[in-house]
Symmetry: C2
Subunit: 282 residues, 2 copies
């Protein structure tokens, strides 16, 4: 009697990934994976350390470890315009942050780098960047702007106006600046695992593609079910889910390469090979 090991797969415990979880659940695919639910940062580390075989990973972390990883095409978390949940929260206009201090939320990798690119390269401001726990009121006690992602950022967007704060949506700002979609997280498989278990990776990849299709068809149901437990109503959640782009096709890859090029120019990541990124083709 042989014993197979289910692939160790990561799942982001943020609202933005609930639709993908829904798809994995309703399609029955959860039975075929050993799922670890955690924060993006914890999943980044676990995939890089080889504690997971397949997981979503922050674009920046993927670029840093592209040698060990292969991307799963067709699935990502990105946006082609406003993303609602990757934000700079600020008191004065971004162009007036020169000489100021910007707090970078510790739960973000790609969002905080995008914010730094935007502030220094587009707005030409010279400011100090400091790491901070992702808690907007506390960040703004010691800084002039706060970069946050995920549920914290989504909530900040709704609460900022009543506190006299401005919010810059980094998905929209990137689109406006670079003219291409932004990709915040990709799904990757460890290269060694993919070489040894191509059939298993293909099965998980197919399951993710099915999940994305299924959840897109049922976004209102997902939003309704999710709203029972979250501080957002169903229509807010449906709008949020629809602002996200869960696909990774040619346009998104163009956006990914544009971001990779800017990140490499800043010395933050190694350059992507010309034909990169390396895509899994089961």
């Amino acid at each position: 009697m042989s014993e197979l090991r289910r692939p160790r797969v990561g799942h982001i415990e943020f609202l933005n990934c609930v639709p993908i979880y829904w798809g994995l659940m309703r399609s029955g695919a959860l039975l075929d994976v050993d799922l670890t639910r955690a924060s993006p940062v914890a999943l980044n580390d676990a995939l890089v350390a080889g504690e997971l075989d397949i997981a979503p990973i922050s674009l920046v972390e993927y670029l840093r470890h592209a040698e060990d990883l292969v991307l799963l095409p067709g699935v990502a978390v990105g946006s082609d315009g406003p993303v609602l949940s990757v934000n700079i929260v600020h008191e004065r206009p971004l162009s007036a942050l020169d000489g100021g201090r910007v707090a970078l939320g510790s739960s973000s990798r790609t969002g905080v780098l995008l914010a730094q690119m935007l502030l220094t390269e587009k707005y030409g401001v010279d400011c100090e960047f400091v790491q901070a726990e992702p808690d907007v009121p506390r960040m703004l006690e010691k800084a002039d702007a706060a970069v946050v992602i995920g549920d914290v950022a989504l909530r900040a967007m709704y609460e900022a106006p009543q506190r006299g704060l401005s919010v810059t949506d980094l998905g929209a700002a990137w689109r406006d600046w670079a003219g291409v979609p932004m990709v915040f997280a990709v799904w990757a498989v460890r290269r060694e695992f993919a070489q040894k278990n191509p059939g298993q990776v293909k099965a998980v990849h197919d399951a993710f593609l099915r999940s994305v299709r299924l959840c897109l068809a049922e976004l209102d149901v997902v939003a309704e079910a999710t709203s029972r437990w979250e501080p957002f109503d169903a229509s807010t959640l449906a709008g949020y889910f629809r602002s996200l782009d869960f696909s990774l096709g040619e346009r998104q890859l163009t956006g990914l390469r544009a971001f990779a090029e800017k990140a490499a120019a800043r010395g933050e990541v190694p350059p992507l090979p010309t034909e990169g990124p390396d895509l899994f083709c089961g």
Copy 2:
């Protein structure tokens, strides 16, 4: 904006509970619970310690902590005859174990007590009981019989004949002896949680009842899907799932009370109140 907390619910990571997981998954109920997947013993401890709100719990542990817990009717893991996965593996007939040593697998609470009842009360043997890790070959190095449950027991049942070992199915032996079904695990909610959150408990209870109905209708699909990752083929798994009784109705409660009475007579648990067990009625 209010923030609700999902009920903290336990799930047994044994093959016998895959059908229930399937039901929770396919019905979408997983989205409404904060699910912890663990071994039965870990879940027993977590529910008793208040780290979970609702969880499956070994019948013996339920009886020991019945004051703090309320049973969810309609869902259980039991059998009305062979259960296939709660076994005594032995070299000589049970009646010849007098003066011998029986190793009790540490992953079991109810199964090991049932084995002790059967050996001492039905077979009248006087033997030494010792705790051991649930590993049949190792247990039999130092004992004449081994009591194991779950996947280990199921595998032992298939492997025993070729090793010249006998297997006594404790579900069948109980049925034969007591004339009523056996209940190995029940689902319970902490009394305090149920008093404070009756609506949430009703929702989770309904989800479990739906899951049981759904999985019973799809047992062959569940078996086929599960067989990809387990050392058993689909028909073996389907047979196993069909041997289990996931219900908790009047007949099963009669079996539960009969076991509780014998357990109390041995001083292992406090007696159930006459009108017990206390059932949740949402």
